[in-house]
């Protein structure tokens, strides 16, 4: 029985357009002073945040191989213990020094994005006890993207956990799994490129 049925319709999506930076990362658009000088999500960790420091850099490529310079990218992740900083989290108390959310522009000149964060702990799959490999949820919006795109970044050193991960395992095309796994750079640094279209198109999720 549905006690509270669906009575409204989610609003249709519209592209973020070429000037999404004004609304979401205004300092990148030339509004240096607004909102106290920094955008929400610009800093994910402070000195008291628990966990291994990592950084993630990358670019978002369109179907011609050109990096997107007018996009935004958001991360959403668990803390080092695998807990979310959210009222929906009922498995324990998450790290108060970690919101778990970050947002950055793709650079207006180079297209590169960069995040400093921590490596997330493992979380269960749906309502089961089975653990997923550590991952970070990613959301991308830009001109030409009609509905924001959800994907995930997994970690290259987690070979065993990735091999038994229930989400990675359910991909019909196992030759696409590599599009979700970051490339290791020097210690604690990862490269994660997102390909919107064409060869090596990143796996995007309907969540």
């Amino acid at each position: 029985m549905t006690l509270f049925p669906k009575i409204h319709q989610e609003l249709p999506s519209q592209t973020a357009g070429p000037y999404v930076h004004i609304g979401c990362t205004p300092q990148m658009a030339g509004l240096e002073t607004i909102y106290g000088g920094s955008h929400l999500g610009s800093k994910m960790v402070n000195e008291n945040t628990l966990g291994i420091r990592i950084s993630i850099s990358g670019k978002i490529f369109d179907g011609t191989g050109t990096p997107i310079k007018d996009g935004i990218i958001e991360l959403w992740q668990a803390d080092a213990q695998g807990l979310f900083h959210s009222p929906a989290e009922n498995r324990g108390k998450s790290d108060l020094n970690f919101q778990g959310w970050g947002r950055q522009p793709t650079d207006i000149l180079t297209g590169e994005f960069h995040f400093d964060t921590i490596k997330p702990g493992r979380i269960p799959y749906l309502s089961s006890n089975k653990l997923q490999a550590p991952f970070i949820s990613i959301w991308v919006a830009a001109r030409g993207i009609n509905l924001g795109l959800h994907t995930r970044m997994y970690f290259p050193e987690e070979v065993e956990a990735n091999a038994e991960d229930p989400v990675l395992n359910r991909l019909e095309h196992q030759n696409r799994v590599h599009t979700l796994i970051a490339k290791p750079l020097e210690d604690g640094m990862y490269q994660f490129d997102i390909v919107l279209q064409g060869e090596n198109e990143t796996v995007f999720f309907d969540i």
């Binding site: 319709q9 004004i22 969540i207």
Partner: protein
């Protein structure tokens, strides 16, 4: 923390009949930026049901007032003064309290304050063009701004955007994340806009058109437009037995 916990284990599936498909060739920017392969459907676990929390203390007192948040002291931007207000709710009609709403828009001449906008319409020294707020009790929100002007854009040879305000919306769950645009009742440019027309369901376009609300204007000062915002709703669960609107 100001978000209310979501009341169930997951969200209603997205209705892809009302969202633009990724590939919409009349909107040319989508051609090289549309994934060609199918989205992979995965269920809602804690990473999808939970979402970031924003506190009122992170925002400034004039962040939702675009007439004031960039203007010099004692001055205001040029244009038609408007209030845009409404309610953020889910598909079950439940108000979403404590959610972050961000907006951005062109000035009254149709020009954005952005290093890349080279349109001939002049910049307004007193207008920045962005605002943000956190929804109140029952999902209420409001912005004060000026009505943005239409502007031409490079797509077809003579394409113009109708007056519009871009909206970025958060709900309690990260899978509710949505960016959309608000249009103004009566604008003749709406029905010929290639971006509006990426929406396949013509009736659904009406959900993005704000209604002129003469009852909530400020006489001799400011017009009002009502624009209600709907995000995906939580499915009910057998554990949910609280009265509606909790």
């Amino acid at each position: 923390m100001t978000n209310k916990p979501p009341s169930s284990g997951g969200f209603f599936p997205r209705n892809f009949q009302i969202h633009p498909p990724a590939y919409t060739p009349d909107y040319k920017s989508s051609v090289a930026r549309s994934p060609k392969l199918a989205l992979v459907s995965i269920g809602n676990g804690i990473s999808e049901i939970a979402g970031p929390v924003f506190g009122h203390e992170e925002l400034g007192p004039t962040d939702n007032d675009l007439i004031q948040n960039y203007s010099a002291k004692g001055q205001s931007p040029i244009g038609e003064r408007i209030i845009v207000y409404g309610r953020l709710m889910d598909e079950r009609g439940k108000g979403i309290e404590g959610a972050l709403i961000e907006i951005w828009q062109a000035n009254s001449a149709g020009r954005y304050r952005h290093t890349k906008d080279k349109y001939i319409g002049p910049l307004d020294p007193n207008f920045g063009g962005c605002g943000r707020t956190i929804t109140g009790e029952d999902g209420q929100y409001e912005f004060r701004t000026i009505k943005p002007g239409p502007y031409p854009w490079p797509n077809g040879i003579n394409d113009w955007r109708p007056s519009h305000i871009h909206f970025s919306l958060f709900g309690p769950g990260f899978s509710q994340r949505l960016i959309t645009q608000m249009y103004f009742e009566g604008d003749p440019l709406i029905k010929i806009c290639p971006i509006v027309n990426t929406i396949p369901d013509k009736e659904a376009i009406g959900l993005l058109i704000a209604r002129l609300d003469m009852a909530n204007t400020i006489p001799m000062d400011t017009l009002a437009y009502e624009f209600n915002l709907v995000l995906r709703g939580c499915r009910s669960t057998m554990f949910e037995n609280r009265p509606e609107g909790n």
